[in-house]
């Protein structure tokens, strides 16, 4: 399945960035009530290993007859061949996506966006703070770092969820706690089941247990719901991590992923090309985010 197209009097053959390749759903199961895990591989197996990406990049996913939407890759490029996603049911496209079964096909094109600046992060201490759906891009980053462990300094992973049942990849992260080459701190806002053996409290409570960190040499990646940024960013900044070393992802409506359709524009930036990963310094200087229209939800 080569996405070649012939245009211009058959003279010129070129790639069409809008045409998805067909991928097959290999596994699909629920992570929480409204979030599903998807694992997919190209229908054309020869293509499988050719798909290269950087953690934090996203792809445009198509369900035939329904449309397209952007999703971050949740798996790591260090484990090629398959792509993994964690997707929340939000509306029309995601509903149709959830209706697909294992072995059925969907369309994927990409990867798009800048992704995390991996090379610049190498050699640095890494702090990752995740909440809710923010785990989608962060898991890719975390797995990548763990697979290239020697290239990075100290790694800290903080993760908060509302309840144990809401914690995406719970078992996977609980296992990470066993490792001695990273610090993995997990918390839930509350637990009615009594089964949760770990911390209880909002994600910021984890900062108390952090101990001293080498702030100037740390790159932080923070993704989560808007309300989380509001509190977490304060803590991270107070730790002394420079604002341009704090990374986050922005969400905007997208139709093309390649800077043509206009929807994701923020002033002169296109989230799909210049982002979705931005530094906290970038974000607080975006007038549209902090200007008149500002409210809790603006950053997402």
């Amino acid at each position: 399945m080569k996405k070649m197209c012939v245009v211009l009097d058959d003279r010129e053959v070129q790639d069409n960035p809008f045409q998805p390749d067909m991928w097959r759903i290999v596994r699909k199961y629920p992570l929480t009530g409204d979030v599903n895990f998807f694992q997919a591989r190209p229908v054309d197996v020869d293509e499988a290993l050719k798909f290269n990406f950087v953690p934090g990049q996203f792809i445009m996913m198509s369900v035939m007859g329904e449309g397209e939407a952007p999703f971050c890759v949740s798996s790591s490029p260090s484990r090629p061949g398959l792509l993994e996603f964690c997707i929340r049911k939000m509306g029309t496209m995601t509903e149709s996506l959830f209706a697909l079964k294992e072995n059925q096909t969907l369309g994927i094109r990409g990867p798009y966006g800048n992704g995390f600046p991996i090379e610049k992060m190498e050699g640095k201490d890494i702090m990752i703070v995740g909440g809710g759906m923010g785990v989608a891009p962060l898991r890719s980053l975390l797995l990548y770092i763990l697979d290239n462990r020697d290239k990075f300094g100290n790694v800290t992973y903080l993760h908060g969820a509302r309840t144990p049942g809401d914690m995406l990849f719970r078992e996977e992260f609980l296992q990470l706690k066993e490792r001695d080459d990273l610090r993995c701190l997990l918390t839930v806002d509350k637990d009615d089941t009594g089964m949760w053996k770990d911390k209880i409290g909002v994600v910021t409570t984890l900062f108390k247990d952090l101990g001293p960190i080498d702030a100037k040499n740390t790159v932080a990646a923070v993704c989560g719901p808007p309300i989380m940024y509001k509190f977490v960013m304060d803590y991270v900044v107070k730790l002394g991590i420079p604002k341009h070393q704090i990374l986050m992802t922005l969400e905007r409506r997208m139709k093309c992923g390649v800077g043509k359709c206009g929807h994701c524009a923020i002033e002169y930036l296109y989230t799909c090309i210049d982002g979705p990963v931005f530094s906290w310094w970038d974000v607080i200087h975006m007038k549209e985010l902090i200007g008149r229209g500002a409210n809790d939800k603006t950053i997402a």
């Binding site: 245009v7 809008f18 397209e68 939000m90 409506r253 139709k255 206009g262 997402a300």
Partner: protein, 341 residues
């Protein structure tokens, strides 16, 4: 580039012969206004008209078109549904608009749909006489040096014809007998005279200098709210602006199957749905914020990126918005911190 000379009476014959290359399109009267329509001959065109209702962008990315088909196995490219066209009578501002679109659609992920149409559309420019709404002089787009295949400057007795591309050359070669290279001192004088004359025709005295600063300073100005109260969100401004490119896309299927098409159609940042994401959050719920995005894009952000405005001064927004919101009124309102009547 090359400049040739053509007798005015030879134009019909020339246009007649270029039809061999593709369909001939030109400005044609529609009520009081003009639109580009398919024609058989020059006689059907209205070359005196200033601006068409929508710019020639409709040829390069149509209002709504099918990108590709899909079926059970995947996506299949559409072939052969783009005709070859020759557009005659395109004015400098619109060619500038096309150049801005070229940048967007052809650089950094080339859009094959735009590229194919651009390739199959020949631009035959024509000089124009500005009316009271034209302001290309303020955007520095009143003359054009690139982006066309041929450009005809009407010097009353004859045409000076700029050849801007190899395809333009090919057209000339179809009727070389109609062109001459005998240019002399008088032609230069005539042309200089023409440029002076054209510059003197402008009636609008808008001035966009300093607009990026005014926008920056006026970011939180209540003027935006006042404009937002007036705006109908009808989207006309974005449809007629030669440098508006936003689009939306939708899948359609055949009845009783999962085969279908993915279609693309013009969208507008003036619509509420434009910045709405799943879950109901809208990044630009207020009309004021949407208007600000539009005008910031035209008169501030683009200048910051590329050193020139994304407005080519065609005057279409001035000739279209029922409630009088356009580059002139908005920039004036921002400068004077007051919305005109």
């Amino acid at each position: 580039m090359m400049i040739l000379k053509m007798k005015k009476e030879d134009l019909p014959a020339f246009l007649d012969s270029v039809k061999e290359w593709g369909e001939l399109w030109g400005p044609v009267k529609k009520g009081e206004k003009v639109t580009y329509a398919k024609v058989d001959a020059l006689s059907q065109m209205d070359l005196k008209a200033t601006r068409t209702i929508i710019p020639p962008k409709k040829f390069l990315y149509p209002q709504r078109f099918t990108m590709f088909d899909f079926d059970q196995d995947g996506y299949v490219e559409r072939k052969g549904d783009v005709p070859k066209r020759i557009l005659f009578g395109i004015h400098p501002c619109d060619i500038h608009g096309i150049l801005i679109m070229d940048k967007l659609f052809l650089e950094n992920y080339k859009d094959p749909y735009y590229a194919e149409r651009r390739e199959k559309t020949l631009i035959l420019g024509h000089s124009c006489i500005p009316d009271d709404k034209c302001m290309c002089i303020a955007t520095n787009t009143d003359f054009i040096a690139e982006g066309f295949d041929l450009f005809f400057t009407d010097l009353k007795m004859f045409y000076l014809v700029w050849v801007g591309s190899t395809k333009g050359h090919d057209l000339v070669r179809m009727r070389p007998d109609l062109f001459s290279r005998d240019l002399d001192k008088n032609d230069i004088l005539n042309y200089t005279e023409y440029r002076k004359w054209k510059t003197a025709q402008f009636k609008s005295n808008v001035d966009f200098t300093g607009m990026p600063d005014v926008f920056e300073l006026g970011y939180n100005s209540p003027v935006w709210d006042q404009l937002g109260d007036k705006c109908l969100s009808c989207g006309q401004c974005t449809m007629v602006c030669p440098t508006c490119n936003c689009y939306n896309q939708v899948d359609e299927v055949e009845l009783g199957s999962l085969e279908g098409t993915r279609d693309r159609f013009w969208d507008s940042c003036m619509f509420r749905e434009y910045s709405l994401v799943a879950g109901g959050h809208n990044f630009r719920d207020k009309r004021a914020d949407r208007l600000r995005l539009w005008y910031t894009h035209k008169l501030q952000a683009y200048i910051g990126e590329f050193g020139k405005p994304a407005c080519v001064g065609c005057g279409r927004c001035v000739a279209t918005c029922p409630v009088d919101i356009n580059v002139v009124t908005v920039s004036t309102a921002l400068k004077e911190q007051e919305v005109g009547k």
